[in-house]
Subunit: 178 residues, 2 copies
DNA sequence: CTCCCCATGTAACACGTTACATGATTTG
DNA sequence: CAAATCATGTAACGTGTTACATGGGGAG
């Protein structure tokens, strides 16, 4: 469960509640746990039991009490250890390729419709990634130039990925049409 | 469970056993169900119950009896319907980006080591994808030029993906070093 | 009045990976 | 003699998604 380390990373930045973390995860594809209640709250409990985070309960007049989590010294050490572990390769799941694999039996029009739909969806995603990257760089209050560079290149990564995808499908569409 | 449609696709090509399918899946990243026993055999049972495939049991003198599955007319129809469904966007899971997000706290040497490890792993993957693509085109006994084109572009896709990844990490490494 | 935000959590389900279990035949 | 290949399947576990449940406060 690498979500634990992602959480430790955010908490190393500043103390946060489960709800805050949920928003952080939802905001970036890099932390792909799509704003997932289930995993975040259970991971926080586990991290707490392992002593990697501490919590401060703030009772509120209305609603459930906020639980603000902070990283502990042990947590910082665990995070650092994880940072040094060998990198994992990306996992790309691409059901559309499987669809295309058998799509030769479609008519020319049907196939082009499929490709054009895909092209549009990718285009929308690309725009979203671009806006996200801009938002990130504009307000980026990163701690060091190194961190700034890394976050910049990460945002960049997603833009480039969808751009690459778009180029690919456009080329394919052209080839299929002729 | 889109694995069912992937199976139907292969069976539309030629009758196969579960074991054959397992090898097919293992051979290509496009069908990302990593040669997964569990899902293949249960999916076949389900497809059979739904009447989308038929099976011929061949008793053997030794070992378990082979079950050769063929696609039925209903199966062909289901496959065609699936081919026309709106395309799904790719899902890219990239834990290394999450690692990088917090890697600014590492020393320059540690960070470069990490990036160089990653570069090597991606390079290996790229080479594997290239070989796979070559093998595919060389022996490709595809049914139509359209199918040939599509399979070619799919193999191509994986090569381009890892190439893109390699370029990205090399650029990043250069930027971090200076 | 409805919808969204805050804030916590649980439950059910779907999907994926690894390992286990059996056992003959072939290859190194 | 060990190992990989053929060929079937099951079990356990881990991860990920969606929906449910509760309930106050504010905005449109």
């Amino acid at each position: 469960m690498s979500i634990k380390y992602a959480i430790l990373g955010f908490l190393d930045w500043t103390p946060l509640t489960g709800y805050d973390l949920k928003k952080q995860f939802a905001a970036s594809e890099t932390f792909h746990w799509s704003g997932n209640n289930n995993q975040i709250y259970t991971a926080l409990v586990q991290l707490y039991n392992e002593g990697l985070v501490s919590k401060e309960v703030q009772d509120q007049e209305s609603g459930p009490s906020r639980k603000v989590y902070s990283i502990t010294t042990e947590g910082r050490e665990a995070l650092r250890q994880w940072l040094l572990t060998p990198p994992e390769l990306p996992q790309l799941r691409h059901p559309f390729l499987a669809q295309l694999a058998w799509a030769a039996q479609l008519t020319a029009v049907e196939l082009d419709t499929l490709l054009s739909q895909y092209e549009n969806e990718v285009y929308v995603k690309l725009r979203m990634a671009q806006e996200q990257a801009q938002r990130d760089t504009r307000q980026s209050p990163r701690r060091t130039p190194r961190e700034e560079l890394l976050w910049g290149q990460i945002g960049n990564y997603w833009v480039a990925f969808y751009q690459h995808e778009l180029d690919w499908v456009r080329r394919l569409r052209a080839e299929v049409t002729e």
